[in-house]
């Protein structure tokens, strides 16, 4: 069951990621990216990261992608113009991509032989309670620095989006 769920959502994630790269219209890319993020949230759940799965849905698929879609529609972004690629790129690009991915997979298998099967529910450390405790004790300083970072980002976004610039 775990294998089936992993394969289904991994394939959805890869297909949507390919779609992000090959679509010419930004809206299509954005919708495909939402698909990637949703399937990654399911994979997080399979790995026992409940809090991160919900945060992924709310923060990424909710807030960030809505921001992207807003900007795309605000700017009325059209399709990218097709560019002619060289003959070598057309012929060699796809086989080289497959070769590169196969090589990367081989090296991961070779140097990280962690063949422990992943069971759903075997790791119970991903609840909001445990992550919150880690955030507010061990990682308190990075957490506070993050809040300052977000404050700077808000001020920066407001300054950049003013009329006068």
């Amino acid at each position: 069951m775990d294998v089936i769920l992993f394969l289904v959502f991994a394939i959805i994630a890869v297909v949507c990621a390919v779609n992000v790269v090959v679509q010419t219209h930004p809206i299509s890319s954005a919708i495909s990216l939402i698909g990637v993020m949703g399937s990654l949230a399911v994979l997080y759940l399979l790995l026992g990261a409940e809090f991160l799965a919900m945060a992924q849905i709310i923060v990424y698929a909710g807030a960030v992608m809505v921001l992207f879609v807003f900007v795309i529609m605000l700017l009325n972004a059209g399709s990218e113009a097709k560019r002619g690629r060289s003959l070598a790129a057309q012929l060699l690009g796809f086989p080289l991509l497959i070769a590169f991915l196969a090589l990367a997979s081989y090296f991961i298998q070779r140097f990280y032989p962690g063949n422990t099967p992943v069971h759903f529910g075997a790791f119970k450390g991903g609840t909001a309670q445990i992550i919150g405790r880690a955030l507010f004790t061990q990682y308190l300083l990075p957490f506070e620095v993050t809040s300052i970072l977000i404050l700077i980002a808000i001020v920066g976004a407001v300054v950049l989006a003013r009329k006068e610039i």
Binding site: M37, L43, A55, E80, A104, T116, V118, L149, I150
Partner: protein, 102 residues
């Protein structure tokens, strides 16, 4: 009933990261380049969570959480910059935004 090996998660993460790099390098629209960056950040988050499962520690989740926060802040500032660039230059093509290049 056995689950998928942890390697599969890492390989999926590598594939997603490679696709993000490809989008970053090949696309010309600045918005799509930005979305490729988000894709790469998501791929790295997946391997953080996978290692966190393997080591049975919560630290990877905390790192992934920080990455998420930084990505949200980066998206806000980056999209504001895109808006400003479009207001000044009327284009989203990165080939035409080159005044710092020469």
């Amino acid at each position: 009933m056995s689950g998928p090996p942890l390697n599969w998660y890492l390989i999926l993460s590598a594939v997603l990261f490679a696709l993000g790099v490809a989008g970053f390098l090949f696309r010309k629209s600045i918005i799509t380049i930005f979305m490729s960056i988000e894709l790469m950040l998501n791929a790295v988050n997946l391997s953080f969570v996978a290692f966190s499962y393997q080591l049975k520690q919560v630290n990877g989740h905390v790192f992934a959480f920080f990455v998420m926060v930084v990505a949200a802040a980066e998206a806000a500032v980056g999209l504001a910059i895109i808006l400003t660039v479009f207001k000044n230059r009327e284009t989203l093509n990165v080939d035409q935004v080159n005044s710092m290049k020469y």
